[in-house]
Point group: D2
Chain length 341, copies 4
């Protein structure tokens, strides 16, 4: 049984584990004040091309979302998010638990645009309603689609025109930036959003997300918020060593490219066989619509999620690839798939 269920089934890229082994007995400062975390931060600033940004390493996506958002906005302020937004449906009310409402906007392809944002603003007009203050987007989105530069510029402009912070969930940012269709550079993000994070957990690390705070107003006292939310690891080196290894050369991007390439193989074959997809997703998650009997057959050797029923006889499934996905497993899947045509 090979799993295409998600991109966190395996551990870490061996280089990261080796780096942990090699540095294991060095005595370093705790709570992210070690030299490795500092070097990782310096390298990330270099990669992003900005020295005036703050970098913080946290353990996971929900933790990063809740710590950042609750630090960034005041009690009466709210978040605007797409109805597919991870914080809206798959984080057990983590944002609401910090006191903030999320205003859900119905979108088809997982992506917010300026019209969505303006509609949310127009329906929140006075002190009897929450005040929208932060726009949450994910890139890639939770259903695999990505923002191109023009789209992100439009959202960014809309936010700035309306005094809204723009926060990008980058749990799978590597995959977005390494898509063939992508026209955004990591270095451009810092100019377009107020804060974003570079996901490590789903791209080669044991755990870890690198939060990048670009907007000066959001930087102050952030480590207090991390500590308060339980996000300051005693052995912060664990995160620093891994991000340093991911970014000291192109490993992070190479891993994302591999994940995308594996998804690409699947997409290509399924597409050529004449099947459609629930959504256009150029990243490492694809949602082909397949006959239910074919799905049942495939499930004998592969695990993956059946996403949604499309009609009486067909369903969309989710296939996820990662840095660790073996090409042989993909080829085997394709072979089995073809045999079912």
């Amino acid at each position: 049984m090979y799993s295409f269920k998600n991109d966190y089934s395996e551990g870490a890229h061996p280089r990261l584990l080796n780096a942990l082994l090699e540095t294991n007995f060095e005595q370093v400062e705790g709570y992210g004040e070690d030299c490795y975390t500092q070097k990782a931060s310096a390298i990330l600033k270099e990669r992003i091309g900005r020295n005036d940004i703050d970098i913080h390493l946290l353990s996971g996506g929900t933790q990063t979302n809740l710590t950042a958002i609750s630090a960034f906005i005041r009690p009466h302020e709210a978040v605007i998010a797409a109805n597919t937004g991870h914080i809206l449906v798959h984080e057990t009310g983590a944002i609401e638990a910090t006191g903030h409402k999320i205003i859900a906007v119905e979108v088809g392809d997982g992506k917010l645009n300026s019209l969505h944002i303006k509609a949310a603003l127009d329906s929140h007009t006075d002190e009897h309603m929450v005040k929208p203050r932060l726009v949450y987007i994910s890139n890639p989105t939770e259903i695999g689609s990505i923002y191109n530069r023009k789209e992100l510029e439009q959202v960014s402009r809309c936010c700035r025109d309306n005094n809204l912070f723009l926060f990008m969930d980058g749990a799978r940012l590597g995959s977005a930036l390494c898509c063939e269709e992508n026209d955004l550079e990591l270095s451009e993000l810092a100019a377009l959003v107020d804060a974003f994070y570079i996901g490590g957990t789903k791209n080669g690390a044991l755990l870890g997300e690198a939060l990048v705070i670009c907007c000066d107003a959001l930087k102050q006292d952030f480590r207090f918020h991390m500590k308060q939310k339980g996000a300051l690891l005693a052995k912060g080196k664990l995160l620093g060593v891994q991000f340093l290894e991911l970014f000291r050369d192109n490993l992070y991007f190479d891993l994302a490219k591999h994940a995308n390439a594996m998804a690409g193989l699947l997409r290509e074959e399924i597409s050529q066989a004449g099947f459609g997809f629930l959504v256009h997703s150029p990243s490492n998650q694809i949602f082909p619509i397949l006959p239910d009997r074919m799905i049942s057959e495939l499930q004998k050797n592969y695990s993956f999620y059946v996403w949604s029923k499309v009609d009486m006889n067909n369903s969309a499934v989710r296939l996820v690839t990662s840095w660790a996905t073996q090409e042989e497993a993909v080829l085997a899947f394709i072979k089995d798939f073809k045999a079912l045509l």
Copy 2:
């Protein structure tokens, strides 16, 4: 420069890293539903000698404290803690951030007893005040002292008589249980407290605390709380593999014994040289009171915290040992110390 500053300066015991390496490419379920976490849980239940307890693996102490306490009590309910309690002073208001007041009780040696608890109950009498509902203790305490069986039984009885939950912070539980003076067994704890945790971060793991919920009333839906607080790691295996390795034989206790033995060497020599201690601490933290000029000399080769000024010429320092403390470093410290007499 050798550090006696804390017990989280190094990484993990090599056996844990090896176990991570060996299992690295296995595809497992996410979010703590993997086989390693399940096995770790089974072994811990066996060690504790109870099948009717729930085990959850979390990343760190603050995260465990805030997730557990906010899950256990209702909005108007409060925590009773010693004035030295970690949650009271060193967690950036993490408990208050979940909405709960901590009632501080002045104690000399870090340990709560039934008189302290009753005094807190007596001063909280009606709905104009918070309602005490949970007693937080640490074993060992934040200043190295430990509870013996009789003391813990007394606290436990007081809590049960007064409808209070008893929660034990065990960030350094290994050290407490392996002290020479200790007369408590791990297997007895589950009968005396409603929940406690077995700290991994400070005893050989990269990160990880094993929360043990003994009281049925506190078990329900705990994973919801973990997810909401950002405490459910996608790659939960990271914690499961480590705890499995720590407890599949006596490694956890062997590491704690080593830490205690190293502290014992220091305690013995300092004591024999005629110096006193701020508090009686049989665990892996000691607080000798030394002349300031001696402290300055020692700081040239060793890092440690100066804890508090005792008089014009003397201060208490904190020396912490761990599973990773090298005996040679301890002996070197002792030699340097003696040379200053």
Copy 3:
């Protein structure tokens, strides 16, 4: 200019003010422990026909909603509400500020039914999502519709079958219970819902809502929650005296009937003139759809809200009547309205 904007434009029914004057200099206990509050509570229990319920008097609707809901559910639990629900859109995130997500359900007429509730349950299946635990309904709804007995019984059964608390916002409960179409008795509510409140602010009082807690599990320590949320008035008598006066005879219901009768006059005339309504609303709020030019003319002498644009030339307006609405004003409005036909 006469206002049909809302049902809280005037002060209190004169009998309530007189009762306040007459009892003004009596020295009584504070914080709702006075004899008037106790008598009001006793009379309400008698009216409801249950001795095993708890009554608490609070100042306003938002305060009652947030105090009750945050007292009733645990941190990971969520509220199900219609998309028109007051707590969802017009309370500035008051519920979320206490940490709870509200799951919005799209409904046409302001009323939840068991299918809506089951759909919300079906889409919240595990610990990665909030756990639905309380259903919030309003009677009458925010758009004037009311629940009949059969509808409420269905919702009630669905909640009990699914371990959900049922909470009814009764800010305008008097109007609902006094509608001609209504077939529910006050005394039946306590058997069908777990908690509800009887609105005073919008039916003759200066301020005040009487919260009725029917379900034993929700009663404990409720005054703690009131105090914590700033809802325990020092001079609680202010609320007790008013509710006592409203319920010592039929004043409360007489006032509601008057409000409904005034709305009835408006509804009847507008209907007879051939205009439709946005929603069927038998209570004291009506939403006729009128030509925009007629609206403009009416606004010269009457204030009311234009609710929503219906098409190029017509809009729905909201006309609200109350215990204080003068029949002459209604007749004048009707005369002016007819003159515009």
Copy 4:
């Protein structure tokens, strides 16, 4: 039985009730946007001598404290308060329920000074602890003492020098400002504190506290916070009419003077009889230390709180007077008291 238990046993000054009666049937805007609230605000600004301040009317002290403090500070920021501070012990954790820790400072006479504040700052040094950001003082304090100008200037300077907001709980502010020893003017407060409130509930109103926000940084969006916390009354006129009546001439101060004069009569006689007091309290609360047998005798005809046991045979009691205290009752008490000497 005459009560000296508190200053909220009676209703409102008759002029306030009359004003409510006279304006009862006027249709006005809801939620504090009525003309009476606006006039009350204008008159208060005039009295305070500042146009650049914001005035908001809220229902009670706990509600004002929790709404203001949670609006003023960020999640990781904390409040410094005296150990006697009302928010610390008598508001059921209302501040903590909004997420903020209160740092308690032990003081003898209920008053904070700059040394206390600096000590709290000195012990909160990094991100592992909360960040002190607001100093909460009460004037008069909870035990009747008052701040003189020099003391308040010192506290104010200390706060400004250390980037701390200064917030004054003025639940009994009238009594403080009308003490014979007082040398502070209402008009001076706005220059010395960042926000304060003028208590109505305990000085002649049915309910109501006038919050004055002096510091620009604290003004924004305050009505959002009021709404979210359930503090925006639908019939806000109820508060506006009362404050307008209290401040359109000297009624507010006359009432406070009466309360103080009544306390003065008691203080004078008890003092002349040779008894001491627990604390020097020139305001409307006094804490004489009396023989227990005398207390028992007095309790036959008067109700008051026994505050604390002083020694085997003597206890401190609390006697509170108010705007409504009858001089005959005070004289009767004195007569009975003397008879017991």
